[in-house]
């Protein structure tokens, strides 16, 4: 009786721990096969608003029923290690709640084992970096239960680059230069006026 009570408590506690601290990435199995349209090393120009087609399906080599808990799939654009170097705001952390590897949502769809595909228009505000695509499968409590990605486990193959917009505009640049020149010239004007005032008062 006491043992059963203890077991129930332990189970509840572990569930609580999981929902509080989030599941870890290393505990997930790579049950999905994901492909994306960019070829390895391709550079996508954000200003052209390129389209990326992502397809995902269940990896049939896993035992049947592994996807019984899967309810939704979220596909995300993730930073490759080379773009995470010396950038703590993009750090990979095992605890998925704190993980910052995948910061851009491509799509969220209900789960189905095959025939999944989505064409995404790259957002203009995606920064310049090297990326891969990852899909997470979530259960009904919205806790990650499985994943798949376009690259290998070390995240070194099949990566593509995005070249972001600079955000600069010719009109902004011209305005900046004009105002700068105005500041410096008005200073010259001040010195001239000051000399004149001194001359007059004498």
């Amino acid at each position: 009786m006491a043992a059963r009570g203890f077991l129930v408590a332990a189970l509840l506690l572990s569930c609580l721990a999981v929902t509080c601290y989030g599941v870890t990435f290393s505990s997930l199995q790579r049950t999905l096969l994901v492909t994306a349209s960019p070829t390895p090393g391709q550079v996508l120009e954000a200003k052209e608003e390129p389209k990326i087609t992502v397809t995902w399906s269940l990896n049939q080599t896993f035992p049947a029923g592994i996807d019984s808990t899967y309810k939704t799939v979220k596909v995300k654009l993730c930073y490759a290690p080379i773009s995470q170097v010396d950038r703590a705001w993009r750090k990979t952390v095992d605890n998925l709640v704190k993980d910052k590897t995948c910061q851009f949502k491509v799509v969220a769809k209900p789960y189905s084992p095959s025939n999944n595909s989505f064409t995404w228009t790259l957002e203009r505000e995606v920064p310049s970096a090297t990326y891969f695509v990852r899909a997470y499968a979530y259960n009904s409590e919205d806790v990650a239960a499985g994943y798949g990605q376009t690259t290998d486990a070390q995240k070194t193959t099949n990566l593509f680059e995005v070249q972001a917009i600079s955000g600069r505009h010719a009109s902004l640049d011209i305005a900046s230069v004009c105002f700068s020149a105005f500041s410096v010239l008005s200073l010259g004007g001040f010195f001239f006026m000051e000399k004149q005032k001194a001359r007059v008062s004498k």
Binding site: E125, I165, S180, A181, S183, V184, L187, R199, K202
Partner: protein, 512 residues
């Protein structure tokens, strides 16, 4: 009645050109003896408002980038090292700019010197909109940071307009309300950015447009200073120099008398460990709370802003405290209070690195901010008395020392991953305590130091300030302003000592 009392109670300086009427009571140098914060009367209070607003604008510009870094770092592909270097660059430029500014104030007057600096650094803020790489980002932050030298012109201007009994308060409020810009910008820039974004501008362009606000504000403040401001209660340097009322001083002599005054060097070091620490914390505190306590970036920004916003009352409080203590205990009181407050600031800094819970940490941070900022105000209650001839360069050296402290603490404790942020903060507290000890060595022969009373040789204020002029210069009468100042500074003897001395007139005593 002692000469001190009669000088201060004369509303219109009858000893000077009697046509001048001032809204505030003045002393024999026409410096205001009262500080009325709600007034904008020319020239004293108007100079106050012009100087704190322009200094505030420069602070907003210099620290405009940190709150927008999450967007800028993605746009310009910055690494943590790039960001750290740019932060150090932002405070490095002002080290030498502040010393140069001090010299410029001594020679050209604070009005032209500050207007010139503000207009010359405004292009860096305007051109921030064109930054497209880590290098260009570092360069704009470096050149924008030069504008923090307006601090020196602010303090110099206040020291020229306000008399000894209120100079600490005037300097403290002007400096504190200017420093407020470092906190206000953490709220202003994200707000401007989101307004521009709401119009529909993409974020990589919106942050660039947002920089035009601090740039325009800065430029406008320079115009206001030029057209509405005045160097001295009696007029502007250029007119006074032409009419012979003020001579154009010798640059080499001004520099020599500043550099050979050891008190200036000690204050430069200690200021690095109140103001310098304040600048460092402005740069690192948001990240510290974000990383250690996992608050949102928005919350971290608000906490960071509150550190800077404490300047609204803490630095002015320091200046006021300096003046209040001086009434009874004179310069010795000012020095003791500065030492105690800055030491306590160091203790709270050590504590800040050690507390592990969010609520307590924020509370300790706020207490720490009050002590450290009050120490800044207290420092500039002492600076106006170190030298009269070279007031500008001494102010510049002290101000520059503040920035050196900021560079040193960031390079030693907050760069790379040698120390965790909390260890860095604790060690910085230890360094504050060590670098505040030199205050014990400051000694004014006419007033004393922390452990000694005034020199037994009976050296007077006049002798101390006259030692900055040689006999040729005295023959030409260049020393007259210093003489007036020396006389007015007798209040620094404190109440107990003053009543024991017999009143003397303006000629220096013959004995040594």
């Amino acid at each position: 009645p002692t000469p001190k009392d009669t000088d201060m109670e004369l509303p219109n300086a009858a000893t000077n050109s009697g046509d001048k009427k001032f809204a505030l009571p003045v002393d024999s140098e026409n410096k205001a003896t009262e500080f009325r914060i709600y007034s904008a009367a020319a020239p004293h209070m108007r100079a106050f408002h012009l100087s704190w607003v322009s200094f505030f604008a420069c602070f907003v510009s210099t620290f405009a980038a940190p709150p927008l870094l999450p967007i800028i770092r993605d746009n310009l592909n910055l690494t943590s090292t790039d960001i750290g270097n740019a932060g150090i660059a932002a405070v490095t430029g002002a080290v030498f700019a502040r010393i140069t500014m001090g010299t410029a104030c001594d020679l050209f007057g604070p009005r032209l010197a500050s207007a010139a600096l503000i207009l010359l650094t405004a292009p860096a803020v305007f051109c921030s909109a064109m930054a497209n790489s880590p290098v260009s980002f570092l360069l704009v932050r470096f050149f924008t940071g030069f504008s923090l030298a307006t601090f020196v012109s602010t303090q110099f201007w206040m020291s020229s307009m306000f008399s000894a009994p209120v100079v600490g308060t005037a300097n403290g409020v002007a400096g504190g309300w200017g420093n407020l810009g470092g906190g206000a910008t953490q709220l202003i820039m994200p707000l401007v950015f989101s307004l521009i974004r709401d119009i529909g501008v993409t974020k990589f362009t919106a942050w660039r447009i947002a920089f035009s606000i601090p740039a325009l504000f800065q430029t406008l403040s320079a115009f206001a200073i030029f057209f509405l401001g005045q160097d001295l209660p009696d007029g502007n340097y250029s007119r006074l120099q032409k009419s012979g009322d003020k001579h154009k001083d010798n640059f080499k002599q001004v520099l020599y008398h500043a550099v050979t005054n050891y008190r200036g060097w000690i204050l430069a070091l200690t200021y690095g460990y109140c103001f310098g620490v304040e600048l460092t914390v402005d740069n690192i505190i948001a990240q510290y709370f974000y990383d250690r306590f996992n608050v949102s970036l928005h919350t971290a920004g608000i906490i960071a802003a509150s550190f800077g916003l404490a300047n609204l009352f803490s630095r002015p409080g320091g200046g006021l405290l300096s003046d209040v203590v001086a009434k009874k205990f004179g310069m010795r009181g000012r020095l003791w209070t500065l030492w105690i407050v800055q030491m306590l600031g160091g203790l709270f800094c050590i504590l800040l690195g050690k507390v592990g819970s969010l609520g307590v940490s924020v509370a300790v941070m706020l207490i720490f901010s009050v002590f450290v900022q009050a120490a800044c105000g207290l420092t500039f209650g002492v600076v106006p008395f170190v030298s009269r001839r070279s007031l500008g360069v001494i102010s510049g050296m002290t101000g520059g020392g503040g920035n050196v402290g900021a560079v040193l603490t960031q390079v030693i404790f907050f760069r790379g991953s040698r120390y965790s942020a909390e260890t860095g903060i604790t060690l910085m507290g230890v360094m504050i305590i060590c670098c505040t000890l030199p205050l014990l060595f400051i000694f004014f022969p006419q007033w004393g130091g922390l452990f000694c009373g005034p020199s037994s040789k009976g050296i007077t204020e006049e002798e101390y300030y006259m030692s900055e002029w040689n006999s040729t210069e005295k023959d030409k009468g260049f020393h007259k302003a210093s003489l007036k100042f020396a006389h007015n500074s007798r209040s620094e003897r404190g109440k107990k000592v003053d009543s024991a001395l017999t009143p003397s007139n303006e000629t220096p005593p013959t004995h040594v």
